[in-house]
Symmetry: C2
Subunit: 251 residues, 2 copies
DNA sequence: GGTCCGGTGGCTGTATACAGATCCGTTCGA
DNA sequence: TCGAACGGATCTGTATACAGCCACCGGACC
């Protein structure tokens, strides 16, 4: 397996499902979501349907729908004065979502490691092979990718576990959780150390899960998610402080 | 506290937030949701924007929005042939959602019983008083209410715990969980026995939580939710079998 | 008889006009 | 000078027309 193909897979989920061929509502939604995640919109800025329609060369109808979707995903909040504005990240809200993530990740890794179905076990094994390849390829990749993009590889790992759990509801809720904390988790992988540690942790979890060692797998997963939460909280704390100083957002 | 006022509180949440004054989209959404929960729509029936607009004396625009909301709440699914149709309940999907509910209820009761904040502790105490009153009033209420309506009282108990946990994300996800299993949970409270047992279990949980006995509270909550799952699954199993015999839905 | 192809109806996606609510500035009066 | 009412700008909610897609159906050809 070449480093290039691993790199391709790693970057595949970067912008989410890249549906250039989708409806106008999809286009607007994806574009705004990307802007929000990249921090291109300041938190005071109001997003007004008419203006967005003009910007995306479409009418208000698709824009309306896109804004509603962004709202239910927690990316924007309604402004009493009309329109919506980017939902400023708060440390307290992040802690709440992470607490939910802990218990959901524990649930899916338990189910996956218990491995009732043959198909689930095989899915775990495939995931393990992928991450073995990624570890192999990392020395070459580290100069070729923007490290924050690694968050998408990380998400695909956790999504893989959730799939292997066979619990579709848990998968759906974990996706929602990821959607809500992605804007912050981008700040997780900013050093090579963090990425290399993450790769090792993922492989340890997969080893335990594939071996059916439920207790080991859940313990490792708890440590893994805990570490991510700590790193993100530390980084985000200083980030929010900086934005606050700059008068860009409210805490 | 009179039985009447308890009854009033108990039935308050019956139809969800009853916003007769809301937008047309809200009206359509609430009406369709009520129909779906009451089982007034057969699972084969396609809901088409134009027809619904005529039925509710409005245009397609609010109907569109209502259908999208019902879709994200899992009440309807898109039909490849156009429109949406009621999402037929499946036992396997119910088990998945209940597995998520287990871990979320465990999380919130843990947080609530740990009771970091004074306000949370007071909220728990108020909830306990409400259920003491409900137990008191039950002998009179049992002839005055449709027992399935008790599901709304039950939900308000669990929502109260989630509020007292102080974790807004968990509260949001539990609301979503409730939204998805309500159509089935209606079949939980069809006997006086079940209702009386539920009241006692709620009070035991609240006693433990108010006393800060975390382990006891979580154990009681687990037993409580487990019992609900069993009862619902048994009832729903026969219900789905009957619908299937009648050719109304697909499994 | 089966399969492929083109027509056709139905439904969604989108554009656009209009109505109603709300907020802000201004002006008039005390 | 302060307050209240008026007016206008702005934005969302809703109605409606139009365009395009897609499944379904019927017929022709293999």
């Amino acid at each position: 397996m070449s480093a290039d193909s691993v790199r391709e897979r790693l970057l595949a989920g970067r912008a989410g499902p890249d549906r250039a061929s989708g409806s106008a509502a999809d286009r607007v939604h994806d574009a705004l979501r990307a802007d929000l995640l990249a921090g291109h919109l300041s938190y005071g800025e109001r997003l007004v349907e008419e203006q967005l329609a003009e910007r995306f060369h479409t009418s208000r109808t698709p824009v309306r729908e896109a804004l509603r979707r962004l709202e239910t995903d927690g990316h924007v909040v309604r402004d009493p004065a009309g329109g919506v504005r980017p939902n400023p990240p708060r440390v307290s809200a992040m802690r709440d979502v992470y607490a939910v993530r802990f218990v959901l990740e524990d649930l899916v890794v338990t189910l996956a490691a218990r491995g009732a179905g043959q198909a689930d076990r095989e899915a775990l094994e495939r995931l393990r092979v992928e991450w073995l390849e990624l570890r192999e390829a990392w020395p070459q990749l580290r100069d070729q990718i923007d490290w924050p993009d690694f968050v998408h590889a990380d998400e695909s790992f956790h999504e893989g576990i959730a799939r292997a759990s066979g619990n579709r509801a848990a998968l759906r809720y974990l996706r929602d959780v990821n959607e809500r904390i992605r804007v912050l988790r981008i700040h997780d992988f900013t050093t090579a150390d963090r990425i290399e540690a993450t790769i090792e942790e993922h492989l340890e979890i997969l080893d335990a899960a594939c071996a059916g060692e439920v207790a080991t797998a859940t313990a490792l997963m708890a440590t893994h998610v805990e570490a991510s939460a700590s790193v993100v909280e530390a980084r985000v704390g200083t980030l929010l402080a900086r934005m606050f100083d700059a008068g860009e957002g409210e805490l």
